[in-house]
């Protein structure tokens, strides 16, 4: 098995998919000749030709709009939005079109598209290169929302997304591209090659959308996380010496509620972590569901640890980012309650 970074894993997923299925096409801003600003599509144009992997004009609505048309024709477009922060011009096409074409045509037309988008902060990208807009997708029925936390999952989930008959928002935590970042920004980064989930098969495999994974078994408290926050949560649990069970959701919509309910039923305590702003973030939905389904098992209020309700600041990045310190304090708070 090969060692891959998350970038390589994502690239490999597209490569494998394009190889197997002529209908898979890849396009977006700078993805063609150059291979994308994060180099995720590097080499694909050379290998599959410029009508299957090409540069698009800087028009996110045009990219998604044409992808929808291609999908209606019968292709399977897997497009890149350069940063999740730039998906907003396409929000109309995503939510009013892609999400509802199957429904409104009663299956006469469908929309199997994937929108890949680098997400989250931690790279001093300021308010326009750091956003985590997942909750703006989870409120929209008809979409699927996937957030991998490691190379192995990234590849398996991306292949599953490309093969999925419905539109999938594929959010790639850019701070994880090169290693399992745990929020300790002042320490050297471990590369994926040193992590077991950096072991990625070269060929085809897929991971079902809608299944969470328990990254750490524990019995004292359940931490629900996804993307970068999985690694932050693991670090916090270790550092606090709390017997936490850490769930990596992987897919937010559909959600693996069973795994969550089982865990919280066991632990009686729950912390939800995400990088997006607090109010109306996906953590709200998770907290609402947990209290609904585990009310009688809960021994303490569910605590949310999230980005603050402010834009993502540039200089004060590490005071904004919900790092292991804040998650650790939340664990302590929940355990004491």
């Amino acid at each position: 098995m090969a060692r891959m970074t998350m970038i390589e894993a994502v690239r490999s997923a597209m490569d494998v998919s394009m190889e197997r299925d002529d209908d898979v096409v890849v396009f977006g801003e700078d993805v063609g000749y150059f291979g994308g600003v994060f180099r995720c599509t590097q080499g694909l144009q050379a290998k599959y030709g410029k009508t299957r992997c090409f540069d698009a004009p800087i028009s996110e609505s045009g990219i998604v709009g044409t992808a929808i048309g291609m999908a209606a024709y019968g292709l399977k477009p897997c497009v890149e939005i350069q940063f999740a922060d730039y998906m907003y011009p396409a929000y109309d096409q995503i939510t009013q079109e892609a999400a509802r074409i199957r429904y409104r045509s009663n299956g006469d037309f469908t929309c199997p598209i994937v929108l890949r988008m680098p997400t989250g902060g931690g790279i001093f990208g300021g308010q326009t290169h750091s956003q985590s807009p997942e909750a703006l997708f989870t409120h929209v029925c008809g979409l699927k929302v996937v957030v991998p936390s490691n190379p192995y999952d990234a590849k398996g989930l991306l292949i599953a997304s490309i093969e999925d008959p419905d539109p999938v928002m594929f959010l790639e935590p850019k701070r994880l591209y090169n290693g399992p970042f745990d929020g300790h920004h002042d320490r050297p980064v471990t590369p994926w090659s040193k992590h077991e989930l950096g072991e990625v098969p070269e060929g085809h495999y897929s991971i079902p959308i809608g299944k969470a994974e328990i990254r750490r078994q524990g019995s004292a408290v359940t931490v629900i996380a996804y993307g970068t926050m999985v690694h932050v949560a693991l670090a916090a649990a270790e550092e606090m010496g709390v017997d936490a069970e850490v769930i990596d959701l992987r897919s937010l919509l559909p959600l693996d509620l069973d795994t969550i309910v089982q865990s919280v039923t066991k632990t009686g305590r729950c912390v939800v972590v995400h990088e997006a702003t607090l109010t109306s973030g996906y953590g709200a939905e998770l907290a609402a569901l947990v209290q609904e389904h585990c009310f009688y098992q809960l021994e303490a209020p569910i605590v949310r640890v999230t980005g603050w309700d402010t834009p993502y600041p540039h200089a004060q990045e590490w005071d904004y980012f919900p790092g292991p310190g804040r998650v650790g304090r939340a664990l302590a708070e929940v355990m004491e309650a």
Binding site: V25, T51, R52, A56, P57, S59, S61, G62, G65, T66, A67, I68, G69, M70, A71, A72, Y73, G74, L75, P89, D92, Q93, Q96, E97, I101, R102, Y103, R104, S105, N106, G107, D108, F109, T110, C141, G142, K144, P165, D166, G210, L253, P254, L255, L257
Partner: protein, 410 residues
């Protein structure tokens, strides 16, 4: 330093408002037959004039004249007339059904029948339209069953869209008719994507995008032109300029550009303006554009100059914002009457046969309606199921929607 005077905001207004005399003297109408017909591989910069003129075939005397004439046989023209008459009769009945509470909403084509009916003739099986709500002629002229349309309009138990969509928001892949969106303009760029896909797959099918004059202001119009221009997509970019967008006259969307067709020029896309009430002209221009697309020469933009005679929708009363008699003053006349006259001049039609055809068509529509009504109307008879709310959000129903369906008792 020069002192400049105070600025002021320019807000365009229509020539006349309710109470005023309709006035279309500012509409510059080329004589029928006067606009040249370039080769389909003409360079866009050599035919810029076509964006500012109006291609017309039928003259006042009902004769077909000029270089765009002569493409359709008697038979084909008679069929075309029948399509337009059918659409008109269909509209009248459905508007009435709406007034009777059999459906919640309706949108008619009165005065614009030639546009979609004649365009459809230039397409082939497998081509795909991305229509707005005002191109039902594409279905009628492709012999999509009226009963199906009505089932959709009545949201009844046979509604192919299971009650989910607003009335008239049809969908038929088989008939090359993409599912209509209630959101304006979104489909315009999707059409370009569909056409790009056909080119990527080295297919021979082409796409047609549809938009109203008012909706060209939307952003997706721009995306469509950008992508069509860059990738030379085999797509026809249709703009139906029926002079109005609800209460807003076309000057608000058009601004200082003179015509909507002119929008194409900024993209190097050949742009033609055509008399949208002239069945022959619409067909001729459509055929020219489709041939361009099929020969991989890229997109063409067509502006159809027509007039929305009825209200915007069944919820609208145009007398609040334009003179009641404005439609009568519209200088391009009525598409049905003009084709009828041409066929009479051609010697293959008569007043009597027209009256008879009207009766036959009305009967056909009434029969279809009777059949549709046996399956229910919006508030009476057979309905789609509550289950249908929950199905089809995804290919496979996820657990949370299943839970909700159960909660709803289904």
């Amino acid at each position: 330093m020069i002192e400049f005077p105070q600025l002021s905001l320019h807000v365009p207004e229509p020539a006349v408002r309710p109470g005023g005399q309709p006035d279309f003297s500012n509409v510059n109408i080329a004589k029928a037959g006067s606009v040249p017909r370039p080769e389909v591989d003409a360079a866009s910069e050599d035919i810029r004039d076509l964006a500012y003129s109006i291609i017309r075939v039928l003259n006042r005397d009902g004769e077909a004249v000029g270089p765009w004439a002569g493409l359709l046989s008697d038979e084909e023209l008679l069929t075309g007339l029948r399509h337009m008459m059918k659409l008109r009769a269909f509209d009248a009945r459905m508007l009435m059904a709406q007034r009777q509470g059999k459906t919640s909403f309706y949108m008619q084509h009165l005065g614009e029948e030639a546009v979609s009916c004649a365009f459809r003739k230039a397409l082939r099986k497998g081509d795909m339209n991305f229509p707005t709500y005002r191109q039902a002629g594409l279905l009628i002229a492709d012999d999509y069953p009226m009963v199906e349309m009505m089932n959709q309009i009545f949201s009844n138990e046979k509604d192919p869209l299971r009650g989910r969509q607003l009335p008239i928001m049809y969908s038929s892949k088989e008939h090359g008719f993409f599912t209509i969106s209630g959101n304006l303009a979104t489909q315009y760029v999707q059409a370009v994507g569909w056409a790009m896909a056909s080119a990527i797959k080295n297919d021979t099918k082409i796409a047609a995008a549809w938009i109203g004059d008012g909706s060209t202001a939307e952003s997706d119009f721009h995306s469509a032109l950008v992508f069509a221009s860059t990738y030379k997509a085999p797509v026809i970019l249709n703009i139906v300029n029926n002079q109005w967008a609800i209460s807003t006259f076309q000057g608000i969307a058009r601004g200082g550009s003179g015509t909507f067709a002119a929008r194409g020029l900024g993209f190097g896309i050949p742009a033609l303006r055509v008399d949208g009430n002239d069945y022959l002209a619409v067909y001729a221009v459509s055929l020219w554009a489709t041939e361009r697309a099929r020969r991989n020469l890229g997109p063409t933009l067509i502006e159809y100059v027509t007039y929305r005679v009825g209200g915007h929708s069944s919820s609208d009363d145009p007398s609040a914002y334009r003179p009641k008699t404005e439609s009568e003053a519209w200088p391009l006349g009525d598409p049905v009457l003009r084709l009828k006259k041409h066929l009479i001049v051609r010697g293959v039609w008569s007043e009597e046969r027209h009256v008879q055809a009207e009766a036959e068509i009305l009967d056909e529509v009434i029969q279809a309606q009777k059949e549709a009504e046996t399956h229910g109307t919006l508030h009476a008879g057979g309905k789609p199921s509550v289950r249908d709310i929950f199905e089809g959000v995804y290919a496979e129903m996820p657990p949370h929607i299943r839970r909700q369906r159960q909660k709803a008792g289904y």
